[in-house]
């Protein structure tokens, strides 16, 4: 029918580059990697066994988990704060809005380069700051405790402005009558925020949350530039590990297996979003 025809080009491409690869990935995770003159062979769950026994995989999984935990709430909270501040007509809000949003426009690669400079031990800008404050020199990217945290800061810096814009839009579309009514009832500012504003922002929060989760797994450009997964896999994120295995070691079967884990995680998040959170969101 007509509808089908209209849909066909988009569906075809989607199937080719999203659905088919996901299924093909599953298929390839049960095969071995072809090498030279040895073709791929069915090996059942062997790749998955290798996965379970691989300490670097567990490290990457745990890293990604902490990374998500560290960046998502922080960037959302900061974004909300920025949006509230910019919405209150404080002097210079236009410039502030610009300052907060600019990192979003830059490619992550550029951001990573700038922050690599920032973090350089001894004479990077951060070192000069902490040195002026009398704190000891620290190798932020070169020490296992702080490397992942350093990357989280970079991500928060880049993402918060993006989320701020959505919150700003939502705040500005809120009717002022609500505030008037609440003020007449004697509600404090914080009470109003907690019981009225925040619930009304839930759709936006949901949207932003989904975006943040996707980005936490999708964006690994800064790992490529700043740490290459080091030191000793402290900043190895899942997608970066997939890249290393697939395109530096050319172990395509294992890379497919790793990707399955990634897909499963994203799939679970999608399910959670559609069924669980949708019920709790308050629509006006």
């Amino acid at each position: 029918m007509y509808g089908w025809l209209l849909l066909l080009p988009a569906m075809a491409l989607l199937a080719l580059f999203t659905h088919y690869p996901a299924l093909a990935n599953l298929w390839h995770s049960f095969q071995s990697t072809p090498k030279g003159d040895r073709p791929a062979a069915f090996v059942g769950l062997e790749n998955y066994q290798q996965l379970v026994e691989d300490p670097i995989f567990w490290q990457a999984l745990s890293n990604n988990f902490w990374y998500a935990l560290g960046t998502i709430p922080v960037s959302i909270a900061l974004a909300l704060l920025m949006a509230v501040w910019v919405n209150d007509r404080i002097p210079g809000r236009g410039i502030l809005r610009l300052a907060f949003f600019t990192p979003t426009i830059l490619p992550m690669i550029a951001v990573a380069n700038i922050w690599l400079f920032f973090y350089t031990p001894e004479y990077g800008l951060l070192e000069q700051f902490t040195g002026a404050l009398g704190m000891p020199s620290h190798n932020w990217l070169g020490s296992k405790n702080t490397a992942l945290g350093a990357l989280m800061v970079v991500t928060v810096w880049k993402e918060s402005g993006f989320f701020m814009i959505f919150y700003l839009a939502a705040l500005q579309s809120m009717s002022p009558h609500l505030a008037d009514a609440a003020a007449m009832e004697g509600a404090s500012r914080w009470y109003f925020f907690r019981r009225v504003t925040f619930p009304l922002l839930m759709p936006t929060t949901l949207f932003v949350l989904v975006n943040a989760v996707i980005n936490a797994f999708r964006l690994v450009d800064h790992v490529v530039v700043m740490t290459r997964g080091g030191p000793d896999n402290a900043t190895e994120l899942l997608l970066y590990y997939v890249y290393e295995i697939g395109f530096r070691f050319w172990d395509s079967a294992y890379a497919a297996t790793l990707t399955m884990v990634l897909l499963t995680i994203l799939g679970l998040v999608a399910l959670a979003q559609f069924f669980f959170l949708e019920r709790k969101v308050h629509y006006q």
Partner: protein, 435 residues
């Protein structure tokens, strides 16, 4: 009458043939043979410019060949790109890649050996002229797979002015581990709050710490792998002890920065007077010469039980999927760029070790060394140099070692634990290659 006609006809035919055929044979091929090659840059300096200059000079002397040098990032980026190109069916004709990538390239069926091309006596002499130390990572199974081009060893750069300040003889660099530790202790300065303003020594540990570490291992009498590339010896006592020494420099003697030291910024750290002695490639020599604004010296690495350094750097490889014309053109270029004069000039321009002994006898090189003795240090270290770590599935096996080194240097594992774990990982990977 007819007979004469026929005879004249044949003569005429032959005459025409005699003129036309040679003319046809001499028609120049208007399409130049294109030779693309990837090259990495791992040292400071205007390397791209130099490579482009070499390409232009070669093209001038060989108008039928068009060279296409493609800058492909670091050594790791370059091997990735080369293998990607091979797998996509469009490999370059040649590339400069790490000498240690040899086994990987053979396993991926990407390269061809040079032996079929080396036929004439001159070619054979040319192949024999390279330093044996560099050929160790270039030959296996009786065949030659790579031609040394930008090869190096690790050297110790030291700040002579800081030596004087600390009461050390600026012309006596440390010759043993003990001396290096002592000197470093004298050279490490702290300010009133205890923060270090000048480190004694730093050995980079980012990206490819295994190379720097191999220096320590060799100096302590350890070998990291067998020559067939099918086994590693990360957990041997000498190797663990070498790592312990490095870790002690950081934690026990406190003369070495904590955490991972970045390869790319180490020269700059030296120029900025943040550190008195650094271990880095001789390929950075011209970079130091140009940018170090103080009196500095270059020395062989100090001896543990013996002197030693791994060789390093890149070889020229010939890729399989090229036309005979491309292959011959590439071979011509490789021979051209490794003549004694050009090898010498490349060494002078960069600091890489000129890869053949007779290059050091050329007037240009002799003059350079006379005016700048540090240029000969890496060459003088060659008798102590050993093959660089190279195995099958090289990237993965070295990653196991790199991770272990970084774990030990950041204090998450003891040297013993780190090396044992690395050996376990490496065994798992290399097991299949020993069947």
């Amino acid at each position: 009458m007819l007979q004469r006609l026929i005879r004249n006809g044949f003569i005429a035919l032959f005459a025409i043939a005699g003129c036309v055929v040679p003319a046809l044979a001499q028609t120049p091929t208007t399409v130049p043979t294109e030779v693309s090659f990837y090259y990495p840059v791992a040292v400071g300096g205007p390397i791209t410019k130099i490579i482009d200059g070499l390409a232009a000079d070669f093209e001038k002397e060989n108008p039928g060949i068009k060279l296409k040098p493609i800058y492909s990032g670091s050594y790791q980026d370059s091997i990735t790109k080369a293998l990607t190109a091979v797998k996509s069916g469009e490999p370059p004709v040649a590339s400069i890649l790490l000498s240690t990538d040899m086994f990987t390239l053979i396993d991926e069926d990407a390269i061809q050996p040079f032996d079929e091309l080396v036929k004439t006596p001159e070619d054979k002499a040319w192949l024999k002229s390279f330093y044996p130390a560099f050929m160790e990572n270039s030959q296996t199974g009786g065949k030659t797979w790579g031609i040394p081009f930008q090869r190096s060893t690790i050297v110790l750069y030291y700040n002579k002015e800081m030596f004087k300040e600390a009461g050390l003889d600026p012309n006596r660099p440390p010759a043993t581990w003990k001396e290096m530790t002592e000197y470093a202790q004298k050279l490490t300065k702290r300010d009133a709050s205890g923060k270090v303003t000048q480190w004694g020594v730093q050995i980079p540990s980012s990206g490819f710490p295994y190379w720097l570490f191999q220096g320590l291992a060799i100096q302590n009498g350890g070998i990291l792998m067998n020559s067939a590339g099918t086994q590693t010896f990360y957990d041997k006592p000498e190797v663990i002890a070498a790592l312990q020494y490095w870790v002690d420099l950081v934690n026990k003697y406190k003369v070495h920065p904590e955490g991972i030291v970045e390869w790319g910024t180490t020269p700059k750290d030296f120029f900025e007077k943040k550190v008195a002695m650094v271990w880095t490639t001789t390929g950075n020599l011209t970079n130091f010469k140009t940018n170090a604004k103080m009196d500095f010296g270059v020395a062989m690495l100090p001896a543990g039980k013996q002197r030693g350094s791994p060789t390093g750097g890149g070889n020229f490889y010939l890729f399989k999927k090229s036309t005979p014309a491309q292959r011959d053109a590439a071979f011509k270029f490789i021979k051209w760029v490794t003549t004694p004069q050009r090898a010498a000039q490349w060494g002078i321009d960069t600091g890489y070790v000129a890869v053949r002994a007779d290059a050091w006898e050329t007037p240009a090189m002799k003059q350079y060394v006379a005016g700048f003795p540090p240029a000969a240090v890496a060459r003088d270290q060659l008798p102590y140099a050993k093959a660089e770590l190279s195995t099958h599935d090289n990237q993965r096996v070295t990653k196991a070692l790199n991770d272990g080194l970084q774990a030990a240097l950041t204090g998450t594992k003891t040297p013993e634990q780190a090396m044992k774990d690395a050996q376990v990982q490496s065994e798992r990977i290399l097991r299949t290659y020993r069947r």
